[in-house]
Amino acid sequence: MNTAQLLNGVALGSLLMVLSSGLAMIYGLRGVANFAHGALYMSGAYIAYSVSDRVSFWAALVVVPLALAVLGVVLELVFFRPLQHRSHIELGLITFGLALMAERIVVLIWGERTLRVTPPEFLQGTASFLGVDYPAYRLAIIVIALLIAAALVLWLRYTDVGLHIRASSQDIETAAIMGIDVDRVSLIVVAVGAALAGLAGALAAPYIALDPGMGNAYLITILIVVVVGGIGSIGGAMVAGMGLGIIQTVATVWSPSFAVIVPYLALTVVLLWRPTGLAGKRVS
């Protein structure tokens, strides 16, 4: 294994980290496994394609999170809030229905063929890093994703809103009794979670090929990441996402046929060893 392969793992891990932290936030607050998270990621990538085609890739990095945050607000106001007293599994399956619809809507708007996004010019070549020549765009993904993760952690740890989010994910009823406006907190969390998914999609767009199955391909992996990390734990999801990205990439180098079952194996082992996940505090 060489440095380039390790960096590939870190790049995949960074994407998983950004994606799954949003999913974990929504799960922690609403208790809903958002099966539409893969669809949000896919929509982000497709919108990034359209924006970077017409304006520029940098504009896409700004527009996509905003657009997806609006989608998140819609998701919260139309589904999560009115149906919050239903069983969590039912709500999860509603998002599953949304994911099915999104997959088709994307085809209706952008067509079925595979699309490609070109990265900005100065990131197209390779850069020398740690003694290896490595694609500059992938380095940019790693840097941006790590910055986002750091910003998210600081936001959750040092702001009032972050405090309210952490309190509500711990116990939403007690948080409400203590005077936290949990509906407002939830709106913020779902909007930010959706925006992060969109941003991950936009970042991934030049790195992968866009096709309508890309959402589902990642959905199962990030659900696994969230469960492995400890349901509802954002830090756990970040660590598990990075870890899984690196392990899977390294395993692909050693044995491609073994690598495909790595996420499932990881999930089974972790849940048997620690039923609440790595950083698990509770299973509701």
Binding site: G31, A33, F79, L83, R86, S87, H88, I89, E90, G92, L93, I94, F96, G97, L98, A99, L100, M101, A102, E103, R104, I105, V107, N216, I220, L223, I224, V227, I231, S257, V260, I261, P263, Y264, L265, L267, T268, L271, L272, P275, V283, S284
Partner: protein, 347 residues
């Protein structure tokens, strides 16, 4: 907070027995008589539906219903929502393919082998998953089924299951499935009695199990697992037994499906298939035994007729959302509520 997905409404008198009017034994007898009646009535279907294409749709729905009543049984009695039953259906189907094509077994023996193989997988998976509940259970069943899918499409599996190409069943002309040659078995009208009898018998068995002492234990576990343990019940074995039973029923569906269609696609183990099965169950609703069957028939019918312009998933997703939002408990409970409202209105 419980994550039991069962809507406990006041309008389910069919489930809560009224011992004052009918004895338990008498209701069982009435149920069995009804099952025999339904069984006999169903046998005339090939004479009513003469069109081969339509008949094949009805047959497909019947075989998929076996998987659906398995999923419904777990959901109804344990409150566990499974995304893994496609695995048992698929493993049984592939086992039939391997037994006939690679080993030259007779189709009858192969179907038996398929059911055993699917059930063994259910047992192995069950040991790993039944301790989980709610979302953990859903994820574990999904993940293990996905792992099987990923293993199945490996190039090294080509000799056995055909990897991405799927498995085409071939066996000697003189080998028959309970008297039917390969051409007969693939004729939906001639194969119908096997599928229909299997479905009615399995549904009846699940109904009887649900009403037995064992079924009551399961419901106790569903409502409060911890309290059942405190009351001195073992909660692991009943859950495992229920999981294996529902897996065995799904396996029977898969084995019959393989022998009837003569080809097993790798997609049968995939996420989409498992999702379809679950959606069908939820559309019908699993509070009543007939719910999953009704849902599957509706789903398969809609799939055959609404697939214009490739918009099938759009409609499926919409139907799922509409039913879950406006009709919790599925179509059967929706209809039941409507019926009770009308009756109350008349009085």
């Amino acid at each position: 907070m419980t994550t039991t997905a069962l809507p406990q409404d006041d309008v389910s008198p069919t489930r809560t027995q009224r011992p004052g009017r009918y004895g338990r034994g008498r209701t069982t007898l009435i149920g069995l008589a009804a099952a025999v009646g339904v069984l006999l009535a169903g046998l005339v279907v090939p004479y009513v539906v003469t069109d081969t294409y339509r008949m094949s749709i009805v047959l497909d729905a019947t075989l998929l219903s076996l998987m659906a009543i398995g999923i419904g049984f777990l959901a109804r009695h344990l409150g566990l929502i499974s995304l893994g039953h496609g695995a048992f259906f698929g493993v049984a189907a592939f086992a039939v393919g391997v037994a006939t094509t690679n080993w030259g077994w007779s189709p009858s023996a192969a179907v038996g082998f398929g059911v055993v193989a699917g059930t063994v997988v259910a047992l192995l998976m069950g040991v790993l998953v039944v301790r989980a509940s709610g979302f953990g259970f859903l994820m574990l069943t999904l993940a293990l089924a996905q792992a099987l899918y990923a293993i199945n499409v490996q190039p090294s599996m080509r000799e056995w299951t055909g990897a991405h190409d799927g498995k085409l069943l071939s066996y000697d002309r003189d080998l028959t499935f309970l008297g039917l040659t390969q051409a007969d078995v693939m004729n939906p009208g001639l194969f119908w009695p096997f599928a229909w009898i299997s479905l009615v018998v399995c549904a009846t068995i699940l109904w009887l199990v649900g009403r037995s002492r064992f079924g009551t234990t399961l419901e106790g576990i569903r409502e409060n697992e911890e309290r059942m343990r405190f009351s001195g019940y073992d909660t692991f074995l009943p859950r495992l037994a229920a999981f294996v039973l529902s897996g065995a029923v799904a396996s029977l569906g898969g084995a019959l499906f393989a022998i009837n269609s003569g080809y097993v696609s790798p997609d049968i183990l995939g996420f989409g298939k498992a999702g379809d099965g679950l959606i069908a169950v939820l559309l019908g609703g699993f509070t009543l035994l007939v719910g999953p069957i009704l849902g599957t028939f509706l789903f398969v019918y809609a799939q055959a007729n609404l697939n214009f312009g490739g918009n099938l998933h759009l409609f499926t997703g919409m139907a799922l959302i509409v039913v879950l939002v406006f009709m919790p408990g599925g179509i059967t409970i929706g209809a039941q509520k409507l019926y009770h409202r009308i009756r109350r209105g008349r009085r």
